[in-house]
């Protein structure tokens, strides 16, 4: 999980270009230092272009060296980038894990849909809520996800999409039709989940949904 508590950006009088860095360095930092991802299939805020800039080997080395100075490390995923911090307190890591916990249920839900939601998929929250309405198993899964405001299923799905869009796993492609696109960074969540080892617990749990489904 990328860092979410970045140090405030230290800016001096010299600009990025003076160090031979791309002029979008500030934009890149602004996105990634918030713990967000830069995905190659993103269209908003010139995301794709930023990805191409980081992906350029020359730029990458320079940016890496530059950010390493302020103890950030650019991590490369499959078609996405994010920051990691070189050393972090356990409490912060724990907090991040807590944040991540919620995603386990969300991804479980997404992977259980008739048409699995994967990287590049385009969907509308209403489609998901409709499917959940028609399928008890999915409905239970959705209800299990803890969200603050959830009077209706649709609102809950909207909240989820909103959360994921804020965390740069989704992108609101069309505000009018409320159409979202799944970013390449979604692979980060999948990878993380796939790396979890599950141990059988002796205690009985009453969820009929069963275990996590990986795709």
């Amino acid at each position: 999980m990328p860092t979410r508590n970045p140090k405030p950006e230290t800016r001096n009088s010299m600009t990025a270009e003076d160090y031979g860095l791309p002029k979008q360095t500030h934009d890149i930092f602004a996105i990634m230092a918030r713990g967000h991802f830069i995905s190659s299939n993103g269209a908003r805020d010139n995301m794709g272009r930023l990805y191409d800039i980081i992906n350029n080997p020359e730029n990458f080395d320079r940016l890496q060296a530059y950010f390493n100075v302020i103890r950030y490390n650019i991590e490369r995923g499959n078609n996405y980038f994010y920051f990691s911090k070189t050393s972090e307190a356990n409490s912060i890591i724990e907090k991040k894990l807590e944040t991540f916990e919620r995603y386990i249920d969300i991804i479980d839900l997404f992977a259980s849909m008739d048409n699995k939601i994967t990287i590049g998929s385009r969907f509308r929250p209403s489609e998901i809520s409709e499917e959940c309405n028609a399928n008890v198993r999915l409905k239970q899964k959705l209800q299990k996800i803890p969200m603050y405001r959830s009077e209706t299923l649709l609102n809950k799905v909207r909240d989820i999409c909103d959360l994921m869009a804020r965390d740069s796993f989704l992108e609101l492609e069309d505000e009018q039709t409320e159409s979202y696109k799944v970013m390449d960074a979604y692979a980060y969540l999948l990878d993380l989940i796939n790396s979890i080892a599950i141990y059988e617990e002796s205690g009985e749990e009453n969820n009929s949904g069963g275990g996590i489904i990986y795709n």
């Binding site: 794709g48 489609e127 492609e173």
Partner: protein, 1227 residues
């Protein structure tokens, strides 16, 4: 009346709420009236005369249009009267659906329009009136444009050309625009932007701006396409395409396999259902057949065995008989039976000889019978004694001999008995063993024959044959496909070559055309440069001097002067009156000489012509490029489609070959498997057989060993018995011989005594005979002979019994022996034949049984298989989604036997389905990821909905494949390359067009600045100076537009070739293209940022003013909020407007036309002081401009105007306009 052309009067008949108004305007005019009384409406009506544009009168969109508001009635008329140098003409405006004009050649007369009742007539009547009066009235002028042409003197129709207010040049449109702009400006502060707008609006038409929305749209379209292509060309996208393609193939193949399997499953199920009963029947029938066969075989076997038993008995009988006969024969031979038989044959003869000898003896002894008798009795006595003794000894010997013989016999009997017993026992044991061996041997033979049968049986023949046929067919199809693929690959290569050649041709022709046109453009540009140079220097050159100082110089000097000379600046011309019509004092008649000099307009015209030529050339190049691109696209379409189809075919063929190869491999494997199975089956059967055979062989060898051991055992026993027996007999014989020889010695000694005594007696007798003369010698001879014969007979008598027995045996047995042997052999042969027969029958039976068993087993197995299959299908398959998915195929299948069983098919389908699901999920994921890389509305239409069906995903992959195969990206590249060319070209053209007017602005500004200088306020010293200057625009969008235009100028049209790093893109072209793209991107974001609708002429430059009024100097500034008091501001503003108007009118009217005046309509001038107003009116008058102003009320200011009209609203709501009593101060 003025002595010049001027709008003298305006008459409103039924216009708005004015019934009739006749207003004179040939001097400064002032309208006094409260707000909303119609001052502005009237001013608009005056403005309409100049602008003739009902939309440019400042009427808000919410208000009624000019036509509707002014011309409410059929008989609404606006009449303008224009005075000329010598008379006047009028133009009337009325509504005939739309607004139309008519000119009539007479001063205004109310009678033309009003009837006797002072009511306005209808247009027909009005026209009729003119005709009646013989006044020329023009045809209806339908368009504003035509009307303006007439008024501003550019109409070519001779009848109408006289109705002009002034003679305008090509720029005359600026006059109405300027007048309109002055009227419409209502702001009190002086903003350079407004002046800029004023100037620009006066110079441009509505369409000459650059609509940024349109540019942005073009840019967006280009940018989106560019982005799409960039995304498409990315390495990761390419990798995804490959993955999608591969996965699609796999998914497709799996789907095909599943369908095939489903069909097979359906067929098998139907087959199983339909065949179940019949197979059951067939199995039962086979069982019955088997039973019958076994029964028949058993019967046959029993019969044969019985016969064999009889024959064996016969053989045993004959064998025994022959053996006994041989045994007897051997015994007889041992007894020298042949000699005995020979001797026996001599017996009769010996008997006869004996009788003869006795009779001879009797006759010889008849004389000496007493002696003879005495001695004979003595001798006889002796002989008797001797005989008795011999007999006694003999009997003793006989006794001994017999005793031992008896003992020997006993021994022999004992031996024989034991021997026989042993032998019998041996025979019995051996027979047992032999019987066992024979049984085993039979079994062995049966197994052997069974093995032979197994070896000759071809297991799974049908399957193997089927596979071989299928393999052969597959190979034939494969061969055909391979050759087809080779042909198509060749075709692909040929088409690709053709396409490349065509592309090269198109590219060459394009570059040739570009070079050619660029050359021409450069040439024309040089010419333009020359003309521009001339135009630039003309002011300071000889030409300028002539223009300024010599009237009509073109008809004089212009005919003889060298053009180069005209534009030299170093000639310092000076006007000398005395030689004005001569050339260095020589008078020339130049009437027939052609004018060689050209006017500025002509130069301008030439320049414009050349510019137009460049434009045409560029246009033609553009068209050529478009056509070239179209051709390219057509080629791409044609070849691409063909190639795509061919490639698809090749791919399909390659794929089917691959499949066929796999199938072949599979079939070979299957065939091999079947063969192996057949081999294994044989081996299994054989190995069972072999094991049995080995076991039997083992048992046989054990039995043989046992037989041998038993034989040896018995033989040893027999041998021991024999040895013991022989020893015993030898001992008995020895004892017998010893005792007999002792007796013989005793006998011999005693017999010798007797014989001695006999001889003594014989000698005594002989002596007595001799004494009596009898021949005793002859008697003795006869006597010896009798003795010999008797001896011989005795011997014969001894063998008599044996010979008799022999003869009997010979007669009964020995002579029949060959017959017996023959018969035995016959029986043996028959027995052998029967054994063969039995063996053959058994072999046949085994074969048949095996065959039947096999068939039955096959039926049973099939039945079991069917039932198991159906069970499996019902319990494990029917409820799965796989069944649901393929239900229609399974249910529709024809009953047919397949090589696979139902269970296998179900399992395979389930396995395949899970594999298919895995593959399909991956396929779906790749498609989503790929489509996700593109914009939602990308122009490739790579879009997949979230709830897309399998079919849609597959279609996506198909479309993607044909996109790749048909190389459609090339078309997209060509389109985008053309588009960037077109976009930059269109921007460049627009910028060029717009900035082309910058010169005009510069010119106008210069004139204005000059005019300001001339503004002689010296008298009042009210305003010391008004300065104006032009600066470069700081509009970001315009700067970028300009950059693009410069870029386009620098690189021409062809940089778009290197837009993407395709085959022919060289490094530098790529770089240029990248720059172009970047520029366009910058422009797009600048447009977004700036949020401006259009770039107009006024955005091309900045204007700055510097005004000094009294002690106040504003300094160079855009905006002058306040120079002094409001009145001062209005004054400055009005001065600036009037200056502008003056400059424009001067610029836009023909030089020859100078006797005219126009109006400057400025509505609210109420706050201006009388002093200032006077100054202003004077300032205007000096520039041939009449002022029309509005005042809210009478304040004394009106006294400075020539005409003052008052507005009053009547009770009816109508407005009356009437002249006020005026005391003109200045006019």
């Amino acid at each position: 009346m003025e002595n010049c052309r001027i709008l003298n009067r305006i008459v409103e008949i039924n216009i708005t709420n004015v019934k009739y108004a006749d207003i004179e305007l040939c001097g400064n005019t002032c309208f006094v009236g409260t707000n909303n009384y119609g001052k502005t409406s009237l001013q608009r009506a005056i403005l309409f005369f100049y602008s003739a544009n009902s939309r440019g009168l400042g009427i808000a969109q919410s208000q009624k249009t000019f036509e509707e508001h002014y011309f409410r009635f059929e008989n609404s008329y606006l009449v303008y009267e224009i005075t000329t140098e010598d008379s006047a003409f009028c133009v009337m405006v009325y509504r005939h659906n739309k607004l139309v004009f008519r000119f009539f050649d007479a001063p205004y007369n109310p009678d033309f329009f009003l009837n006797a009742n002072d009511e306005a007539m209808k247009i027909k009547e009005v026209i009729g009136g003119f005709e009646k009066r013989g006044i020329y009235i023009s045809n209806q002028i339908d368009t504003f444009e035509r009307y303006r042409n007439i008024i501003y003197g550019t109409e070519t129709d001779k009848q109408l050309s006289k109705f002009h207010l002034l003679k305008g040049n090509e720029k005359y449109q600026n006059i109405p625009k300027s007048i309109t702009n002055v009227f419409l400006s209502s702001k009190s502060s002086i903003d350079s932007r407004f002046i800029k707008d004023f100037i620009a609006n006066s110079l441009t038409t509505e369409n000459s701006s650059i609509k940024l929305e349109q540019v942005e749209r073009q840019l967006r379209q280009f940018n989106e396409k560019y982005q799409d292509i960039e995304t498409f060309l990315k390495k990761e996208s390419g990798q995804l395409v490959e993955l999608i393609d591969k996965k699609y193939d796999q998914v497709h193949m799996l789907k095909g396999t599943q369908m095939d399997l489903a069909d097979k499953l359906g067929s098998s199920l139907r087959f199983a259902e339909t065949q179940n009963e019949s197979i059951r029947e067939a199995a039962k029938q086979k069982e019955e057949e088997l039973e019958q066969l076994i029964e028949a075989h058993d019967t046959f076997k029993t019969n044969l065995e019985e016969k064999q038993k009889d024959i064996r008995e016969e053989i045993g009988y004959y064998d025994r008989t022959i053996r006994d006969a041989n045994k007897k024969l051997k015994e007889y031979k041992e007894k020298n039976i042949e000699q005995a038989v020979e001797k026996n044959a001599e017996r009769e003869k010996l008997q006869v000889d004996l009788n003869i000898a006795r009779r001879e003896y009797d006759s010889l002894t008849s004389n000496v019978s007493s002696i003879e008798q005495k001695y004979s009795s003595l001798i006889e006595q002796l002989r008797n004694d001797k005989s008795a003794y011999i007999n006694k000894i003999n009997s003793k010997t006989g006794e001994v001999f017999n005793h031992y013989n008896e003992l020997q016999l006993l021994q022999k009997n004992e031996y024989n008995k034991k021997d026989t017993e042993l032998k019998a026992k041996r025979e019995e044991t051996i027979e047992e063993i032999t019987a066992e061996t024979t049984a085993k041997q039979i079994e062995f033979n049966e197994l052997k024959s069974e093995e032979k049968v197994i070896r000759n049986t071809r297991f799974y023949e049908a399957e193997i044959k089927g596979l071989e046929t299928e393999l052969a067919e597959l190979r034939a199809v494969n061969y055909k496909n391979k050759s087809e693929r080779a042909i198509k690959t060749n075709m692909v290569a040929t088409l690709t070559r053709e396409w490349e050649a065509m592309e090269l041709k198109l590219k060459t022709s394009l570059s040739n055309q570009i070079n050619k046109i660029n050359g021409e453009i450069i040439k024309i540009k040089t010419e333009i440069k020359e003309i521009e140079d001339k135009l630039n220097v003309q002011h300071d050159a000889f030409y300028g001097y002539l223009e300024k100082h010599v009237k009509d110089w073109h008809t004089t000097i212009g005919k003889v002067v060298n053009e180069k000379l005209l534009f030299r600046t170093d000639l310092t011309p000076e006007f000398k009156e005395e030689a004005s019509k001569t050339l260095y004092g020589i008078q020339l008649e130049l009437g027939q000489v052609e004018v060689v000099s050209k006017s500025i307009e002509e130069y301008q015209h030439e320049k414009n012509e050349r510019l137009a030529q460049i434009k045409d050339l560029e246009e033609s190049l553009n068209q050529f490029q478009v056509a070239n691109n179209e051709e390219k696209m057509l080629a791409a379409d044609r070849f691409g489609k063909q190639l795509g189809e061919l490639k698809e075919d090749v791919k399909v063929l390659a794929y089917s070959l691959e499949l066929a190869d796999k199938r072949e491999q599979k079939l070979i494997e299957e065939l091999e498997e079947w063969k192996q199975r057949a081999g294994t089956e044989i081996e299994t059967s054989l190995s069972g057989n072999r094991a049995k055979l080995n076991l039997i062989e083992e048992e046989l060898s054990v039995l043989n060993k046992k037989k041998n051991t038993v034989l040896t055992d018995f033989n040893v026993q027999l041998e021991r018995l024999r040895v013991y027996n022989e020893e015993r007999i030898a001992e008995l014989k020895e004892r017998q011989e010893t005792e007999i020889s002792e007796l013989e010695v005793e006998k011999k000694n005693q017999v010798k005594e007797f014989e001695d005594k006999e001889e003594q007696l014989s000698k005594e007798k002989e002596t007595n005979f001799k004494a009596k003369g009898v021949d005793s010698k002859q008697i003795k001879q006869i006597d010896n002979r009798i003795k010999e014969i008797q001896e011989a007979l005795k011997e014969i008598e001894q063998y008599q019994q044996v010979v008799n027995d022999y003869l009997k045996d010979k007669r009964e047995t020995f002579d029949k022996l060959p017959d017996l042997i023959q018969k035995k052999e016959e029986f043996v042969k028959t027995s052998n034949d029967m054994a063969g027969q039995m063996e053959e029958a058994t072999r046949k039976f085994n074969l048949k049984r095996m065959e039947l068993n096999k068939q039955k087993r096959a039926f049973d197995e099939e039945l079991i298989e069917f039932n198991n299959g159906i069970n499996f299908y019902t319990t494990n398959f029917r409820d799965t989604p796989v069944f649901t998915k393929h239900a229609d195929i399974i249910d529709r299948a024809e009953p047919k036997r397949t090589n696979h069983n139902i269970m296998e098919l179900c399992t395979q389908m389930l396995k395949n389905e899970s594999h298919f699901n895995e593959e399909y999920t991956a396929f779906q994921r790749y498609v989503n990821e790929y489509a996700g890389k593109f914009r939602f509305d990308n122009h490739f239409n790579f879009i997949i909905r979230n709830d897309a069906t399998q079919g849609e995903y597959e279609r996506f992959a198909q479309n993607l494949r044909s996109f790749i195969n048909e190389n459609k990206i090339e078309m997209s590249l060509a389109e985008t390359a053309t588009q960037i060319g077109l976009v930059t070209d269109s921007i460049a053209t627009k910028v060029k067009e717009l900035s082309g007017q910058k010169d005009k602005i510069q010119h106008i500004i210069t004139l204005i600045a000059e005019d300001f200088k001339k503004a002689e306020f010296e008298e009042s010293k009210l305003i010391e100076f008004i300065k104006i200057k032009i600066e470069e625009s700081d509009n970001k969008v315009y700067r970028l537009l300009k950059k693009i235009e410069e870029f386009r100028e620098e690189h021409g049209l062809v940089y778009s070739e290197g837009l993407f790093n395709t085959d022919f893109a060289t490094g530098s072209k790529r770089e240029i293209s990248t720059r172009a793209v970047r520029l366009l991107e910058q422009l797009r974001s600048a447009i977004k940022e700036q949020d401006q609708e259009e770039i107009r002429l006024q955005d091309l430059f900045e204007l700055k003013f510097n005004i000094k009024e009294g002690m106040n100097e504003t300094g160079w500034t855009h905006k002058i909020d306040s120079i002094g008091s409001t009145g001062t501001d209005i004054l400055v503003k009005a001065i600036i407007y009037i200056t502008l108007l003056h400059v424009f009118i001067k610029e836009s009217s023909h030089r020859s036309s100078s006797d005219f005046k126009v109006h400057c309509i400025i509505d609210e001038v109420g706050q201006i002081s009388a002093h200032y107003l006077r100054e202003l009116l004077k300032f205007a008058k000096n520039r041939n401009i009449m002022m029309i102003n509005g005042l809210p009320n009478k304040s004394g200011l009106e006294s400075h105007y020539r005409y003052t009209y008052q507005f009053r609203k009547e009770d009816s709501g109508n407005v009356r306009i009437f002249p006020s009593i005026v005391t003109e101060v200045e006019a």
